[in-house]
C-alpha cells in the first residue's frame, strides 16, 4: 500500500521548486492566519485612514465651505462670484437669496450664513459675524469694481462688452523657472513618509525572518527539516513566504492610504502619491529580500529567541541609520554623495524610493540602483546561505561569524 510518488516532478529542479513552494506556503499561511496579521493589519488600516482624514480635517482644512446670502440689488453679484470662486478647489461657495436684510442678518447671527451681501451692486454692505474669508472678500471687492466699471462705461456710451473682452484677454504670461518648487514641500513630506514606512517594514518583517529561523532552531524541528530539505530551499521558502505576507500587508495599507489621500485631497497631485506607492512597493520587495537574507543569516547564529537581539540589532541600526540619512539626502538632493548612497544596495531600498517620491531621482539612477541591488541580493544569497547552512544545526552558544563562514569549529 505505498502511496504514489510525484514522478512528474522527480526529475530536474521541479522537486526542489515544489519543496520551496511548500515551505513558502506554510510560512505565508501560518502568519496570515495569525492574530498579529489579522488584527494588526486592521488596526493599522484604521489608524492610517484616520490619520489622513484627521490631517485633512484639522490641520489641512482641505475644503472651506463659505455660505453667502444675497438680497436686493446686490443679487446680480451672486453668479459672478460663483464663477470667480469656482476656479479655486479649496473653496466651496454656496450662494442663496434672502428676502430682506433683517432675515439675512438673523441667519448670519445664527451661523447658517457666513456673509450677507445687500444694498447696491457697486457699493454693497457685507454683513459678517466676526470675520470674513479674505479670498471671498477680495474676490467680491474685485467684482464690485468690475460692475462699477462696466456701469460707468455703459453710461459713457462706450461698447462695454467689447472693452470687457479686451480686459479679459489681457493676462500675464507665467514663466516657471522651477516648476517643482511649489510641489517640493509636499513631495518632501511624501518622501519622508515613504522612507519611514519602508524602514519600519524592513525592520519588522526582517525580524520576522530572523525569529522564524531561531524558532526552528529553538524547537529543534530544524533537524527533521534538514533531513529532507536543503538549507537553501528552507531559507528561500522562508524569505518568500514572509515576504509575501509583508507585501500583502503593505498593499492593503498602501491601498487604504491612497484612497484616503485622494478622497481627502491631502495631496493635490495624486500622481505623486501613485508614483510613491508603486516605487515604494517595488523597493519593498527588493529591500526585503536583501535584508531578509541578512536577518536570516544573523538568526541562524543563535539558538534562543533571547539571544536574537544581539545579532539583529546591528542590522536594524543600518536600516534606521539609512532612514535618518535621508533627511540629509533630501536637503542635498544633487550632492554626489546623495546620489551615490541612493544607488548602493544597503541604502538604495530606502533612499531611492524616497528620492523618487521627492522627484529628485533621475531615471538612470533608478536603473543603476535596481541593478546594483539585484547584484547585492545575489551576493547576499550566497553569503547568507553559506552562513545559514553552517550554523543552523549548531545548538547552544552563539556561533561566531568566522566559524559560520568557514564551517569549522
Amino acid at each position: 500500500m505505498r502511496p504514489p510518488r510525484r514522478p512528474d516532478l522527480a526529475a530536474l529542479g521541479g522537486e526542489a521548486l515544489h519543496t520551496t513552494y511548500l515551505i513558502a506556503r506554510r510560512e505565508f499561511m501560518t502568519r496570515v492566519r495569525s492574530r498579529f496579521f489579522v488584527i494588526g493589519t486592521a488596526v493599522f488600516m484604521i489608524l492610517l485612514a484616520g490619520y489622513i482624514v484627521l490631517q485633512a480635517l484639522v490641520i489641512g482644512r482641505a475644503v472651506t465651505t463659505v455660505k453667502v446670502g444675497f438680497t436686493g440689488d446686490a443679487q446680480v453679484l451672486a453668479q459672478p462670484l460663483v464663477n470667480a470662486m469656482g476656479q479655486d478647489k479649496m473653496f466651496k461657495l454656496v450662494t442663496s437669496t434672502v428676502p430682506d436684510v433683517t432675515s439675512g442678518r438673523g441667519q448670519v447671527q445664527a451661523g447658517t450664513l457666513d456673509a450677507l451681501v445687500s444694498g447696491s451692486a457697486t457699493a454693497p454692505d457685507v454683513i459678517v459675524k466676526d470675520d470674513v474669508d479674505p479670498t471671498v472678500a477680495a474676490t467680491l471687492d474685485g467684482l464690485v469694481k468690475e460692475v462699477a466699471l462696466s456701469r460707468a462705461l455703459a453710461a459713457s456710451g462706450a461698447d462695454a462688452a467689447a472693452i470687457e473682452n479686451q480686459v479679459a484677454a489681457a493676462t500675464i504670461h507665467l514663466n516657471l523657472l522651477d516648476p517643482n518648487a511649489a510641489q517640493r514641500t509636499q513631495r518632501q513630506v511624501v518622501g519622508i513618509f515613504v522612507a519611514a514606512l519602508l524602514y519600519v517594514a524592513l525592520v519588522i518583517y526582517g525580524q520576522f525572518v530572523a525569529a522564524g529561523v531561531v524558532e526552528e532552531k529553538a524547537n529543534r524541528i530544524i533537524e527533521i527539516l534538514l533531513s529532507t530539505v536543503r538549507p537553501r530551499q528552507l531559507l528561500l521558502g522562508k524569505v518568500i513566504g514572509i515576504g509575501l505576507m509583508g507585501l500583502l500587508q503593505m498593499v492593503l495599507l498602501g491601498t487604504v492610504g491612497l484612497i484616503a489621500v485622494t478622497r481627502t485631497q491631502v495631496i493635490s497631485v495624486p500622481s505623486v502619491g501613485f508614483d510613491a506607492v508603486a516605487s515604494g512597493l517595488l523597493w519593498f520587495v527588493l529591500g526585503f529580500v536583501f535584508y531578509a537574507l541578512i536577518y536570516a543569516a544573523g538568526g541562524s547564529l543563535v539558538s534562543r529567541q533571547e539571544d536574537l537581539a544581539a545579532v539583529t540589532t546591528p542590522i536594524t541600526f543600518l536600516i534606521v541609520g539609512t532612514y535618518l540619512a535621508f533627511f540629509w539626502v533630501v536637503a542635498n538632493p544633487d550632492n554626489p554623495v546623495s546620489v551615490l548612497l541612493s544607488v548602493l544596495p544597503p541604502f538604495a531600498p530606502i533612499l531611492m524610493p524616497a528620492r523618487v517620491a521627492t522627484g529628485d531621482a533621475q531615471s538612470w539612477q533608478v536603473v543603476v540602483a535596481v541593478v546594483l541591488t539585484l547584484g547585492g541580493i545575489a551576493a547576499m544569497n550566497t553569503l547568507a546561505a553559506r552562513i545559514y547552512t553552517n550554523s543552523v544545526l549548531r545548538v547552544g552558544s552563539r556561533v561566531k561569524f568566522v566559524q559560520a563562514w568557514r564551517g569549522v569549529d
Binding site: 506554510r26 529543534r220 527539516l225
Partner: protein, 309 residues
C-alpha cells in the same frame, strides 16, 4: 508490501572530526532490509553524529554512506524517517496540518499524505486531536506525533535517535511493535538506545560504539556467544578445590555449592563434566550466556585497555 529488495544501508569507514576531537573514527556498519539494528554506546560516543552523517545533515570527513551498494542519493535520503534525539515539531501548528506538511516535504503527494496521516493518527489513537495544536497535547502524545512524523511519508528506512527515551512502558511496547512492523515490511530500521534490555529484546543486530569507534557488532547471540565459554556446575559433594586439577579451567565465582568456571580456548567442557561426576552427584551443568549488558561492559573495558596500551 515488500518494496526494498536491495542490500539496504551500508556505512563504510566514516570519520568525523571536530577540530582536535575525533567524534567518529573509521566506523562501518550495515543495516539490512527487514532488520532492526540497535546502536548502543554511552553519551558522546558518536551515535548521533553517525546518524546525522547517514541523513546527510552533517558532512563526514572521510568514508561513504551507501544505499543498495551505491552512494546514497538525496532522493533516498529525503525518504528516511528520522526521529532526532531532541524532539522537534512546530508547537503552534495543528497536528494534522503539520504531519501532512512534513509528509509533503518528504515527497508525498497531498492526497497520499492526508491518507497516511489519517491512518497513523488512527493507529496511535490520536484521530480526535488532528485539529489541535501540537503544544496542547500531552508529552506522551507529542512523542506519538513525533513518531508519526517519521512514518507518514512511507519511509524507505527509519533512523531513530533514542526513540524510547522518556516513554512509559505502554508506549515502549507500541513503539517496538511499530518498529517490527516496519522491519517486516522490508524497511531497514536503525535506532540508538541506552536501554540495553530493550535493545536485547527488540533488535536483530546490535552495534556497540565507543569513542566514535564500533567495538562490536553482530546478532545478539553472536555477541553473547562471542566471549570465552563459562559453565555453572553444581556438584554438592565435591571438595573445594575439585577444579584445580583441570587444565585450562579457571574458577570465576562461587555461589553456595555452585561454581562458575571459565574455559580457555581448547579446554574440553566434557572433561569438566567427568571431573564433576567423579566427585558425586551433579545437580546442574549449564553453559552461562552473558547478558548484553555484560557484553557491553566487557567490550567497553577491552577497548579501554586497548586504548590505554
Amino acid at each position: 508490501m515488500l518494496a526494498v529488495g536491495g542490500t539496504g544501508l551500508e556505512v563504510r569507514q566514516i570519520t568525523k572530526r571536530y577540530g582536535a576531537l575525533v567524534a567518529v573514527r573509521d566506523l562501518s556498519l550495515q543495516v539490512h532490509p527487514g532488520e532492526v539494528f540497535g546502536f548502543v554506546g554511552s553519551n558522546g560516543a558518536g551515535k548521533t553524529t553517525t546518524m546525522r552523517i547517514v541523513l546527510g545533515t552533517l558532512a563526514s570527513d572521510g568514508g561513504e554512506v551507501l544505499w543498495d551498494g551505491a552512494p546514497i542519493a538525496f532522493d533516498v535520503r529525503r525518504r528516511i524517517g528520522y526521529m532526532p534525539e531532541e524532539r522537534g515539531l512546530y508547537p503552534k501548528m495543528r497536528v494534522g496540518e503539520q504531519l501532512v506538511y512534513l509528509a509533503q516535504l518528504h515527497g508525498a503527494t497531498a492526497t497520499a499524505a492526508s491518507a497516511a496521516v489519517e491512518r497513523w493518527l488512527t493507529r496511535f489513537d490520536l484521530k480526535a486531536r488532528i485539529g489541535d495544536e501540537v503544544q496542547k497535547l500531552s508529552h506522551g502524545n507529542q512523542q506519538r506525533v513525533q513518531l508519526a512524523a517519521a512514518l507518514v511519508f512511507d519511509p524507505m528506512m527509519l533512523v531513530l535517535d533514542e526513540p524510547f527515551a522518556g516513554l512509559d512502558p505502554e508506549a515502549v511496547d507500541a513503539m517496538s511493535e511499530v518498529l517490527h512492523e516496519c522491519a517486516t515490511a522490508g524497511i531497514p530500521v536503525l535506532f540508538s538506545s541506552h536501554q540495553l534490555d530493550l535493545v536485547e529484546r527488540i533488535c536483530d543486530r546490535v552495534g556497540i560504539i565507543q569513542r566514535g569507534h564500533l567495538v562490536a557488532a553482530g546478532t545478539i547471540d553472536e555477541l553473547r556467544g562471542h566471549g570465552p565459554v563459562q559453565l555453572w556446575v553444581d556438584a554438592p559433594q565435591a571438595p573445594h578445590s575439585w577444579t584445580s586439577g583441570l587444565r585450562g579451567v579457571q574458577t570465576i565465582r562461587r555461589d553456595g555449592t555452585r561454581v562458575l568456571v571459565q574455559l580457555d580456548g581448547g579446554a574440553d567442557d566434557q572433561a569438566v563434566l567427568r571431573a564433576a561426576i567423579a566427585t558425586g552427584p551433579v545437580r546442574e551443568f549449564r553453559r552461562r550466556v552473558p547478558s548484553l549488558l555484560e557484553v557491553f561492559r566487557e567490550a567497553m573495558s577491552e577497548n579501554a585497555t586497548a586504548a590505554a596500551s
